[in-house]
Every structure is written in C-alpha cells, then in structure tokens.
C-alpha cells in the first residue's frame, strides 16, 4: 500500500466544511438507538469546541426510510427537506449539519437535482408554500456531522485524555472504518476523500492514534439496505452482507469498528448477535464480538467522557475489553445504573466485545 496514493485522492476530494454556525438535523435511528451520540455531538461542539449549533424542535424526519421503502414520492421528500431549509432560513442559518447518512444522501440528491433541473426547485418552493406558507433559501453548505468532527479532529486530539492506542503496549489500536453507502457513493464530491477511499473516518482515527485496517470488503454495504431489511423474509440478504464483511475483516483482528452512519452502526452491532444465534460464530478475539462505535462515541471516549454516559452499554456488543485496552477505567457494575443510582432497564441478548 502506498500512502501517497491515497493522499493524492484525498487531496482531490476536499469539500467545504464550515467553521461554525450549524443548523443541526437529527437522525431517526441515531437518536433512538444511540441517543448518547447525538447528545455528546452537541456537547462536544458546544462545550469542547465552543461552536454555535442551532437545533429546532419543529424539525421532523426527512422521510428517507419511506422514500427508500418506496412509499414516499420524491416530490414529497423534497418538500419535507425544503421545510427544514425553511426552518434554517428562518433561524438565520446557512450551514446544515446532518446526523444521518441516509438523510445526508437525500439532501445531496435533492441539491444535485435542483442544480441540474432548476424547475424542480421552483416546483418545491411552490409545494412548500402551498402546504405550509413557508419560503426558504437553498443552504450554502451541507455537512454530515462526521465531516464536522473530521474538521475539528486535530483540536479534539489536542484535548485528548485517551488515545486509540493500547495503553499497556503503546501500540495503535486496529480500527475498521465503515462509511455509509449514501455518504459518498452516489456523489463522491460530497464526501471527504471521495467514494473509493473516503478519508472522513480515517482522518479521525489516525489523528487520535489508531491504525486503519484496509480489508478486502471495506467498500461493501453493512447489509442495512432498506428494502432488504423492511421485509422480514429478505433479511437473510442483509445478514449475508454483514457476515461477508465480518469474515473479511476477521483475519486482521480489529479492536473496533467505527461507522459514520447510524444504520450501519446498528446493523453491524445487532447482526453480530443474530449471526452468533444462527451460526454460533463471533468475529472478535477470544470468542467475543467486535464493538461497533459511532464516531461521536469514539470522540467522546478520546475526550474522556464516561462510556456509560455515552451509552456504550446499549450496544449489543459490549466494549469492556476495548475500554480496558485504552486504559479507560469504567466500572462494569455501573453500566445500568442511573445517575441517581436507580437501575436502568437492562437489554437482553448482549454479547461480550
């Protein structure tokens, strides 16, 4: 592998990521399954980096799941997204920060459509106005929230309490990065580093001391695939895709997987349990699973936040060995205790990571 070859590609795919003043749109999946991630993204940006992030409680789902599930037409989703833009316009924000990769893909698709077919933009303005009486400005930039963490990765590194290294040996952790398909495969120029060799997570991991694994099925889909997942009988395809990835990364003995898409994080985490149930196979060391973390969680760990506050215990694959390796002292007994000492609900089917 020639690192300069990748740098060459990364240099070609540099997108504009604004410095401040973000209009934040949440992700259905991330806020439900990885609530700590969104909470800590805001906390890191506002408190650790001192940025202005605006969030409007009136913003809704982008309807991407319905769109990819063939129940929401393109005109409808354009109008829903236009409403978000209207909220941003009304609040005086021109930079959208999107938590969900599916949403990010939809925003990219809509912006590209408006660029190449201006009449669709006009039609959307009309539809939005008729439906809500709102008007909007097309935003200056859209960023996925991983883009923003990527932009401030060095700053985070400077404030780091822990690094992605084995605290005992000083060796870098081996990290698998997984990029959501809709982040840049459709429009390479919208992603940091393009579609073939995206840099967005690689940049974070390397800045925080970890080593990236380039394994053969790196580009492969996590297995989410809306249509595959939504129909129960088709979930075998989804599961098969995930297994293909795990089998491909297994020989490298990764310490963790980092993903920028909430759907990917969820499926790569949950399917490890399902595969174990069906085939009795796990892919991590010593019969354990491989922890799958969001980049917000990883950034939170690096900055020294409490893993249980970040919500790592609510992943199927638990991360105690990873935390121990990083030298983070986390009391397993406190995993499911609330701040006031009362017991939190404990999920079933956890597997060791």
């Amino acid at each position: 592998m020639k690192p300069e070859g990748k740098k060459r590609i990364w240099a070609e795919y540099q997108k504009e990521i604004p410095d401040d003043h973000f209009f934040y749109v949440r992700s259905c999946i991330r806020q439900t399954f990885f609530a700590g991630s969104e909470q800590y993204f805001l906390k890191i940006l506002r408190e650790d980096l001192g940025k202005d992030v605006y969030e409007d409680p009136r913003h809704t789902t982008c309807t991407g799941i319905g769109y990819h599930g063939d129940v929401v037409p393109f005109e409808t989703i354009q109008t829903v997204v236009a409403r978000h833009f209207a909220l941003a316009t009304e609040a005086g924000y021109r930079h959208i920060a999107i938590s969900c990769v599916t949403s990010f893909g939809i925003y990219s698709e809509i912006l590209e459509t408006w660029k190449h077919f201006p009449e669709t933009l006009e039609r959307t303005r009309e539809d939005l106005y008729k439906a809500t009486g709102r008007t909007f400005e097309v935003p200056e930039t859209i960023s996925h929230t991983s883009d923003i963490i990527y932009k401030f990765r060095e700053e985070i590194a400077r404030k780091a309490k822990y690094n992605l290294v084995d605290a005992a040996t000083g060796k870098p952790l081996k990290v698998v990065e997984h990029i959501g398909c809709h982040y840049s495969k459709m429009f390479p120029k919208y992603g940091v580093g393009g579609a073939e060799f995206p840099h967005v997570l690689v940049g974070m991991v390397e800045s925080w001391g970890g080593d990236i694994i380039d394994y053969p099925e790196r580009r492969h889909c996590c297995g989410f695939g809306f249509r595959q997942y939504l129909v129960q009988a088709n979930r075998g395809y989804s599961l098969f895709a995930s297994r293909k990835k795990f089998e491909s990364m297994e020989p490298y003995r990764p310490d963790m997987i980092i993903a920028n898409c909430p759907g990917c994080t969820m499926f790569m985490d949950r399917w490890q349990y399902t595969i174990k149930e069906i085939d009795g196979i796990t892919y991590g060391a010593e019969g354990h699973g491989i922890p799958v973390l969001t980049y917000e969680e990883v950034a939170g760990l690096v900055l020294g936040y409490d893993p249980w506050e970040l919500g790592l215990q609510y992943h199927n694959v638990q991360s105690l060995p990873l935390l121990r390796k990083m030298g983070i002292k986390a009391d397993p007994e406190r995993r499911f205790l609330d701040r006031d000492g009362s017991r939190l609900p404990e999920p079933a089917n956890l597997i060791d990571g």
Binding site: R235, L239, F240, I278
Partner: protein, 120 residues
C-alpha cells in the same frame, strides 16, 4: 447451514453466496479435463454447441455454460449437467474452434465419477 433455533427465532436464515470464489474452488476437474482433452482450452464461448444440441432441445443442458463452470472450478452445477448429454456429436460439427466437445463431456463425466470416489 442454519440452526433450527435461528430460523424459528428470527423467521429468516442467512443467504448463501452466489459468488464464485476462484481461490477456494476445485480446479482438479478442470486439470483432469485439460490434460485429457487439451482442445477444451480453445472454447471461446460462442454457444454454437448449445444452439445445436439435441439434448438441449429437451432440457436446460448447456455445454457452453458447463465449460465455463469447469474452468472456474464450480463442480456442483456440473454433476447433474453432465448426465444430460446424449453424446450424439452434433456439437462437434458446429464448433468453430475445433473443440472435441463430445469428449469434453465424456471426460467431464469421468472426472466427476472419479471425484466422487476420491480418485482425482
């Protein structure tokens, strides 16, 4: 393939790969055929044999595809495929590359038999 618990619990099983994994495929049959019928290499997949095939009028027997499978080391689909040919030899007269097609089938069947007896 899948445990009963898995199927009952989730209502679906893990799909099987359709991918030909050349590195884990079995090329013994190919080598056996190529060494006994070197003209086998010459096929360029025009499909003439399949178009004229007597057995192909009655079944899905496809010599062109069978050749491809042999080359890739895909033995499973071969087992049944070889039994369908009538060895009539029409394909021989059609082949533009002079592949001894009839013997390819005969040798392939022989190879499969040997494979089943672990003699390959």
């Amino acid at each position: 393939m899948m445990s009963a618990t898995g199927a009952n619990k989730f209502g679906f099983a893990i799909n099987r790969s359709r991918m030909i994994d050349y590195d884990s495929s079995d090329r013994k049959v190919r080598e056996y055929i190529t060494s006994r019928e070197p003209s086998f290499r010459l096929c360029f997949a025009c499909g003439g044999c399949t178009a004229t095939c007597t057995a192909g009028q009655h079944t899905s027997f496809n010599l062109r595809r069978m050749n491809t499978y042999i080359r890739r080391g895909e033995i499973e689909p071969l087992r049944e495929e070889v039994t369908r040919c009538m060895l009539c030899g029409k394909c021989l007269l059609v082949c533009p590359r002079g592949v001894n097609t009839r013997n390819v089938v005969a040798v392939a069947a022989e190879a499969i038999r040997k494979l089943e007896r672990n003699e390959l």
